[in-house]
């Protein structure tokens, strides 16, 4: 099983790059853009939820801040899209320090509950700070980005931009996970006390982890602002954060592929059932419940989040698990 999941990302990448070649319908192309956008968002949440023992329910906050940073700076100062991508990410990352500082020294549950309030607060601030954000009216007319004199306005253009961004993110994340930093993150997730005993500064690494995840959510927000040309607080409600969470849980936390899978599945499903949009989140919630009951590690998850952890000790297949495990062991 593990072999399959190892090769899967490459297969997916090739498939994804080729999409505009065979998918000609503009509507479907637009869906494709949204799918990859949510893949980015879900992956960014997965970094936080799946690799550092944290639980973030309010990811919409970082998404929101990224989008608004991009929108405001673009309209007020005419900054280019390409510059705004990292800028928005940085804004979100800085914001994450605000969230992380009081909460990450404490047990994970404080963080989790606080993210709930945080998400709402950010939305409320955006909603009420009308002089900066135009409040409920939102910010319209965000210009199309340009690249070497070319204006990017078609779905295909945006598709490749978001695909490249997401691929970059996954690539960098993979590199981090396969390094001292990533190992520290996973150690913290596995056993915080033991990690401390090994000299790992848990608080600092959690902040770093949160900032990294927040950064990419901010980047996603910037992309969204330019893609949709119009943003308003309504796009960044709690429900948005819940959707992203559902994608991560369904697809499988703690793996690189899982969130992408979850994002694809749930986004496509949302589009198919557009008519019953108000039931969307009910279905997501039920999907989470089903996942937790039937396959807690998600579709692509390895056994990390399997709730019967003692199975590993008693299972006769135990030594084989190591081979199949979706783990990043550098070959010697």
């Amino acid at each position: 099983m593990g072999r399959f999941w190892e090769k899967f990302p490459w297969f997916m990448l090739v498939l994804l790059v080729s999409v505009p070649l065979w998918l000609r319908n503009e509507y479907f192309l637009r869906v494709a853009v949204v799918v990859v956008l949510y893949a980015l968002l879900a992956s960014s949440l997965n970094v936080i939820n799946g690799y550092s023992g944290l639980f973030n329910i309010g990811h919409a906050a970082f998404y929101c801040v990224g989008a608004y940073t991009a929108a405001i700076l673009s309209k007020k100062f005419g900054l280019s899209f390409w510059l705004l991508l990292p800028l928005s990410g940085t804004a979100s990352a800085l914001l994450s320090f605000l969230l992380g500082f009081p909460t990450l020294r404490l047990r994970g549950i404080y963080f989790a509950m606080t993210t709930l309030g945080f998400s709402e607060i950010i939305r409320l601030v955006v909603l009420n700070w009308t002089s900066l954000t135009r409040g409920p009216m939102g910010i319209p007319g965000i210009p199309f980005p340009s690249f070497l004199g070319w204006q990017l306005r078609s779905n295909v253009h945006f598709y490749y931009v978001i695909l490249a961004t997401t691929a970059l993110m996954v690539f960098l994340t993979g590199r981090v996970l396969n390094s001292r930093v990533g190992r520290a993150w996973i150690a913290i997730r596995e056993d915080e006390m033991a990690a401390k005993a090994m000299g790992i500064e848990v608080f600092k690494y959690r902040l770093l982890n949160l900032a990294f995840g927040a950064f990419w959510a901010g980047v996603a927000g910037c992309f969204y602002a330019f893609f949709a040309s119009f943003i308003s607080p309504d796009s960044f409600t709690l429900d948005e954060g819940f959707s992203i969470l559902a994608m991560v849980i369904l697809g499988g936390q703690g793996t690189l592929v899982g969130p992408i899978l979850g994002a694809t599945l749930l986004t496509v499903l949302s589009e198919i059932f557009r008519g019953i949009a108000q039931y969307r989140l009910i279905i997501f919630g039920i999907a989470i419940l089903l996942t937790v009951h039937l396959r807690p590690q998600g579709i692509a998850g390895n056994v990390v989040f399997s709730w019967r952890r003692d199975n590993l000790l008693s299972s006769k297949r135990a030594p084989l698990l190591a081979e199949g495990a979706d783990y990043h062991v550098t070959p010697s």
Binding site: A184, A187, A194, L312, S315
Partner: protein, 270 residues
């Protein structure tokens, strides 16, 4: 001679419960120091306070003459004190190799940027970590199980892995919390040998144990705790003869202190 580790009047209270009461201990460089006592005597609490996992209610801990009382565990680890835990705290879903590699954390400095760019620092760190991890695994005898998930190992090997991981941080002082628990006699004998070998190579070791065979055979000096108070400290022989110790602690069924006062001769090293 200045002790490597010293506790002075160390107290730790949990509300009304006096888990540690004015404990004075001195551990000198190069020795193996044992801590024994009945269950609930405060042994693990002592380790937890020394390593910064619990705050000392009063008193102080000094390492190499400097105050380390109430420092964060991460900092204490960096100073050269490593430990294992009473109920094994491995990184269950990481492989054996990965567990040991984490132990090297304080000796590497790859930052997130280095990781992105796969810089020179990154490769140097990775090579160094890999080499030393394999080295330690060889010493401990876990090379074959290198890619096994930690939780799939049998109990005895898990304990070995925990020690290996602690060794990876290249400590000056190693704290072992009941390393022989759950081991069969052969494994226990291997462990005793291993501890001796580590000590010969210059490692100072503090060890909490219930298995008297291990303690009496391997320790240079022993302290006995009972209800949070140190009731005796000295060589294994001294401890065996001590009346208070005999009364407080009747051994764990493996070795009994016996009713007679012929104590010492029965417990000569095997």
């Amino acid at each position: 001679m200045l002790p490597l580790l010293e506790t002075r009047s160390l107290c730790r209270y949990f509300g009304g419960l006096k888990a540690l009461e004015k404990v004075d201990i001195q551990v000198f460089d190069g020795e193996i120091f044992g801590i024994i006592g009945p269950n609930g005597a405060g042994k693990t609490t002592l380790f937890n306070v020394i390593t910064g996992f619990l705050e000392a209610t009063s008193g102080s801990v000094l390492f190499k003459g400097k105050q380390i009382t109430n420092l964060a565990p991460e900092r204490i680890a960096r100073l050269g004190i490593a430990r294992t835990f009473q109920n094994i705290r491995l990184f269950k879903h990481m492989t054996v190799l990965e567990n040991v590699r984490v132990g090297f954390h304080i000796h590497t400095k790859t930052s997130i940027l280095d990781a992105f760019l796969r810089s020179r620092t990154f490769w140097d760190d990775e090579t160094k970590t890999m080499q030393r991890s394999l080295d330690i695994l060889r010493r401990v005898g876990l090379v074959e199980q290198m890619f096994y998930t930690a939780s799939s190992l049998p109990y005895g090997m898990q304990r070995k892995l925990e020690i290996a991981r602690a060794l990876a941080s290249d400590p000056v002082l190693l704290l072992l919390d009941e390393p022989a628990a759950g081991m069969n006699p052969k494994e226990t004998a291997d462990l005793v040998e291993f501890i001796r070998k580590l000590n010969k190579e210059g490692l100072t070791i503090m060890i909490i144990e219930h298995d008297m065979k291990v303690i009496m055979n391997v320790c240079h000096r022993i302290a006995v705790l009972n209800y949070g108070v140190k009731i005796c400290e000295g060589t294994p022989t001294d401890v065996q003869c001590n009346q208070e110790v005999i009364e407080a602690y009747l051994g764990r069924g493996r070795v009994s202190f016996g009713k007679s006062q012929e104590g010492p001769l029965e417990f000569l090293p095997l």
